[in-house]
């Protein structure tokens, strides 16, 4: 548990190289971008596979409408744009042209959460999971590390269903996992434990895992689950973990309204599991300014912060 994790690269980098490899072998794969090939680390893709890159300029409504139309002609379309713009400016196109019209577009939200740090709330995306949870016919995936990112992109390229995937741009450690297989909709157990469960997604899984290490030093056994797919939720994994542990903490780089935490809370209460429970995320307030790391620290999304939250929660038990 305490061994130093190997530092991988940014999930963004993993995404772009995975997609390029797939597209080199599958000429049916297209990327549609809104002046975002640079932010999406897709410059090399555009140079190598110019025929498979569609640039629509800074026009996110058209970006998603065009993607849906292109997908309807049999292309596998990856629509790549900063998560904030992709999920708000073009929300109606996602809802109607992609999800409702059942076009298996992969919507890739780059620089998710507060990745843009000090650029501020216009560029943050802390609402997207909540919004897409309420839209029928779209899977929502928030991979934690390079492995999950790579597997998500491969799985999404074969999916017949719309998929939204989002990630950030800072290097992520390679996390251990109990089982090496990956499937959209099936949670990954990072480490097993019996006292407290961290159910986290995206870039918050790593600090949850580090917090588990700090707790272990205090004799507290923490389970860490990477709930990379927030929709459909792996209900079984949550229920098994929640029944076993004394307390549950959810962690997400998202508003505490409508995200992973509330999805878990709803599941637990409807299954009559009432235990000490805490949703760690971004409260309904003007997000503090700073770098992504500083913002995480401010809201307690660090190993130390989560360690303290866990201790406090267990004391309530």
């Amino acid at each position: 548990m305490n061994e130093k994790l190997n530092m991988g690269r940014a999930n963004l980098q993993e995404f772009s190289s995975t997609l390029q490899k797939l597209a080199e072998n599958h000429k049916n794969i297209f990327v549609v971008t809104s002046d975002s090939r640079g932010s999406g680390k897709l410059v090399a893709f555009a140079e190598k596979l110019p025929e498979q890159m569609v640039e629509v300029g800074i026009a996110e409504q058209n970006l998603v409408g065009v993607s849906a139309g292109l997908a309807s002609t049999g292309k596998k379309v990856f629509t790549v744009s900063p998560a904030s713009f992709l999920t708000t400016r073009s929300l109606e196109q996602v809802k109607n042209d992609v999800a409702y019209s059942d076009q298996s577009v992969v919507l890739v939200g780059i620089s998710g959460g507060v990745s843009y740090g000090s650029l501020g709330s216009t560029h943050h995306s802390l609402h997207d999971v909540a919004v897409f949870r309420a839209i029928h016919n779209i899977d929502v995936v928030v991979p934690a590390d390079n492995f999950e990112t790579r597997e998500t992109i491969i799985a999404a390229s074969k999916s017949n269903k719309p998929v939204f995937v989002k990630f950030g741009k800072k290097p992520m450690p390679d996390l251990p996992r109990v089982e090496s297989s990956f499937r959209i909709g099936k949670a990954s157990t990072i480490c097993k434990g019996n006292d407290i469960a961290f159910i986290a997604c995206g870039e918050t899984v790593a600090p949850a895992y580090e917090a588990a290490g700090l707790l272990e030093e205090k004799g507290i056994s923490a389970e860490v689950i990477s709930m990379h797919t927030v929709k459909p939720l792996d209900e079984e994994a949550i229920l098994i973990s929640a029944k076993k542990c004394m307390a549950i903490i959810t962690v997400e780089e998202h508003s505490t309204n409508g995200g992973l935490g509330e999805a878990c809370a709803s599941l637990l209460i409807q299954n009559r599991i009432c235990k000490p429970f805490k949703i760690v995320g971004f409260p309904d307030e003007d997000t503090v300014s700073g770098s992504q790391i500083e913002i995480f620290k401010h809201y307690g999304i660090t190993a130390e912060g989560l360690f303290e939250t866990a201790k406090n929660l267990l004391n309530e038990e």
């Binding site: 569609v54 409408g65 065009v66 997908a71 309807s72 002609t73 109607n96 042209d97 019209s101």
Partner: protein, 279 residues
């Protein structure tokens, strides 16, 4: 494969379609009457003369595509699709009824419909994407979309207009159902889209103009499109909202008005008389 009808047969179809539109709207006690009557002749000529689309080839990747951006005029689309055999006309007796697939906007649950539309400003981006797909495949099918004039206020149309010209999508045709009236009143008063022709030309489009309630002129205009100009085409089809039923014409209240029994009788009488005159 493309069906050919005489002008008289097409004119007869238009009247019959209008009778059916009103019949099913009356039965449903819901529908977008004015806009459906406005675009009836456009859909008539498209499906009976222009589009390479039929129940036999609907899953053929080489079929032409039709995307109805002004989705609220779905009753016109339903009666035309029924007429060309996508489903029995009697299905429309369930229009807007509980658990019917024939809802008040186009849905892919209905045989013959390509995309779910209804929210405005979506058809042109989708159609541009399809046209781009055709170009990528070196396919020769064409993409037609029907826009309302009120929906030109949606910015997404202009995003797509710019991009369609950039990609030289000369396989894309947008037909504007230019009845000049939207739910609040005349376009010119609500938020003027004019000059429409100059705007699209400035965006790099070919622009044609025709009488959108005259099947003969529509046929001529649609058959005159040059698909090798490197430019997408806009056809401004000048129409009358509520066309074919004199008391519904150019009256904004018929945007989604449903006729009373008395009004229905009056409308049917007028249309039946036209039908008898044409036979």
């Amino acid at each position: 494969m493309i069906k050919k009808f005489t002008n008289k047969e097409l004119k007869l179809k238009s009247v019959q379609y209008r009778i059916d539109i009103l019949k099913y709207i009356k039965m449903a006690n819901a529908g977008h009457t004015g806009g459906s009557l406005s675009c009836t002749d456009i859909l008539n000529v498209l499906y009976n003369e222009v589009l390479n689309v039929s129940p036999d080839n609907f899953y053929d990747p080489g079929r032409d595509r039709y995307i109805q951006s002004k989705g609220h005029s779905v009753e016109a689309l339903y009666v035309v699709l029924a007429d060309i055999g996508f489903f029995p006309k009697s299905d429309l007796e369930t229009l807007c009824k509980y658990n019917s697939v024939y809802i008040g906007h186009p849905t892919r649950k209905v045989n013959g419909i390509e995309f779910n539309t209804g929210a405005l400003g979506h058809g042109l981006p989708i159609s541009a994407g399809i046209a781009l797909g055709a170009k990528q495949d070196d396919a020769f099918y064409k993409v037609f979309t029907l826009l309302g004039d009120g929906e030109l206020a949606e910015g997404s149309n202009w995003e797509a207009a710019m991009m369609a010209a950039h990609y030289k999508l000369d396989n894309l045709v947008a037909i504007l159902d230019h009845n000049a009236l939207q739910i609040t009143g005349p376009n010119r008063e609500v938020c003027s889209p004019y000059p429409i022709d100059e705007k699209f030309r400035a965006f790099g489009w070919n622009v044609l103009e025709t009488n959108g309630n005259d099947v003969v002129q529509l046929k001529e205009t649609l058959s005159s499109i040059d698909f090798e100009t490197g430019k997408p085409t806009l056809i401004i089809a000048n129409t009358t909202k509520g066309a074919g039923v004199s008391f519904m014409e150019n009256e904004k209240k018929w945007h989604h008005g449903v006729p009373t029994d008395e009004q229905y009788e009056l409308a049917m009488e007028e249309l039946e008389t036209k039908l008898a005159e044409l036979v």
